[in-house]
Symmetry: C2
Subunit: 299 residues, 2 copies
């Protein structure tokens, strides 16, 4: 079955045609760029043009598509029709599905939060294949969480979502973009490493990879920053293991490629910081940049 | 179908014969008392004697039982055979199921954590009937949590349990009996109200009900303690609603009967403290003292 996946980000749209069941699922891909504050109509036009171009290049048309899946960086309403909020893009109550449907009248369109799409990609074609209970944490601007329960991506008991990154971590702590304080994602996102880098090492270290590279090169301050971050991340993951006892935990996002400097201390600390004192399997996600687009196509 | 439920507590054992499917499920009940540090053999002898006595009183015998369910205040191993830890009772690696099986050779015996048993009771015969996703928080010495996912009691992806009370709440905060610090249950248990009562109002207020009664009678200090407690409980429940988006939240344990002085401010604050800014349905559990025994019988 051929599906289209679309991952809508802050500055660009990733698109792909994806064959279900294959081990290397992307068969054609595009990236389309967005003007600042592109409205819903322009956004949907760009998506339709790019999907049309990909289909033509492989000699297909819209009738060959099983569905079009949209991964969105925000909250989708309970009916799955409206993008309620995408704070980073300034979108509020946008009827993306309805507008895009005008371009593809006969094709099913599905919307999903991008963190949930990434978990779906791992479940169907990545490190969660065949698992019943698993947790994907995407370390980026925030902490995206995708929970697998009963062999499916969990989207909340009332279909509002599952915003694990906004559970309390340090009550009364750092203010969060969501309006609460001390949320888990404020301590475990890549943004947190960048903030600690800027404050302790200067502007050129306001970046998670720069801090990690400096620590690997032996910089003591950078190592201290990583130690603080990994301690918080381990406490967070340990608590999530106490609650979910997952068969596997995967880390996504660019920083998840950090290797031993991250995973060795993290696994040791998580084993101490969960109620069962169990060793949990913590691995990098298979998909990084393509997670949203593949997950949306494999819904 | 007739089943036996057994709820093993620190000082006594509650037992009941329970008819499945009925709205008022208990048909015969007993309470047996335990000597300090009763060993596993004595414990199982007491259970067998009490079940035998109840069965005789209604003219039945062990062959009429569908199963015997045991609710235990601790951690059960992944195979469901061994009580790994019950810290409050000093039990470690106790083969209760095997020893009790000698008394009932032909009867199926099932073990479950007591917080999970309480959630099962609400699912089968209480306020969670027919729900897919729900959360029971039992406010007692600790915070017992029973999560309903996919219409079933969730016991962890690897069957170790689901210890929501030991997720982080205030990282680096009050030490917990589990060995970690700042666990959610340290701020949301009835023990917390008692501790605040003792520290701020004196020894006679080292009790959650005494503090609640004083607040209802207009005592300002008692009201301040409740305000602190409800603020923390709302932050915890709000975070759990962000993660699970449950169809209903129920509170169990003695303090859950507190009424409007608890539920009115709690519902208002939870609506502010969840990511979706949604109003959640928060109700008292149907079963308080009998939750464990009914849940174990209705497994």
């Amino acid at each position: 079955m051929l599906n289209a996946g679309v991952d809508i980000g802050g500055t660009n749209i990733k698109l792909a045609l994806v064959e279900t069941g294959g081990d290397d699922p992307i068969i054609e891909a595009r990236t389309a760029f967005l003007f600042d504050q592109a409205g819903c109509n322009l956004l949907c036009q760009r998506i339709a043009d790019s999907i049309g171009s990909m289909l033509r290049d492989i000699g297909c048309d819209a009738e060959d598509l099983g569905h079009i899946g949209l991964a969105l960086p925000g909250t989708i309403d309970q009916s799955g029709e409206i993008l309620v909020h995408a704070y980073n893009m300034g979108y509020h109550n946008v009827p993306i599905k309805k507008v895009l449907q005008n371009h593809f009248p006969g094709t099913q369109i599905k919307m999903i939060n991008d963190a949930k799409a990434a978990a779906q990609a791992e479940l169907k074609a990545g490190v969660f294949k065949g698992l019943d209970t698993a947790l994907l944490l995407t370390i980026g601007t925030g902490l995206g969480a995708g929970l697998i329960m009963g062999g499916k991506v969990f989207n909340g008991g009332q279909n509002r979502g599952s915003e694990i990154g906004h559970m309390p971590f340090l009550k009364g702590g750092i203010p969060c973009t969501c309006g609460l304080t001390g949320c888990l994602e404020r301590y475990t996102s890549a943004t947190r490493i960048a903030e600690l880098g800027r404050a302790n090492m200067g502007e050129e270290y306001a970046d998670a990879k720069a801090v990690k590279d400096a620590a690997e090169a032996g910089d003591k301050k950078a190592q201290e920053i990583l130690d603080i971050y990994i301690d918080d991340l381990a406490t967070a993951i340990g608590g999530l293991c106490s609650a979910f006892d997952p068969q596997r935990v995967a880390l996504g996002g660019g920083f998840s490629a950090a290797g031993d400097i991250l995973y060795a201390p993290l696994k040791k600390l998580v084993a101490e910081r969960n109620f069962f004192k169990a060793r949990y399997d913590i691995v990098p996600a298979r998909f990084r940049n393509d997670a949203g687009v593949i997950g949306a196509a494999l819904l």
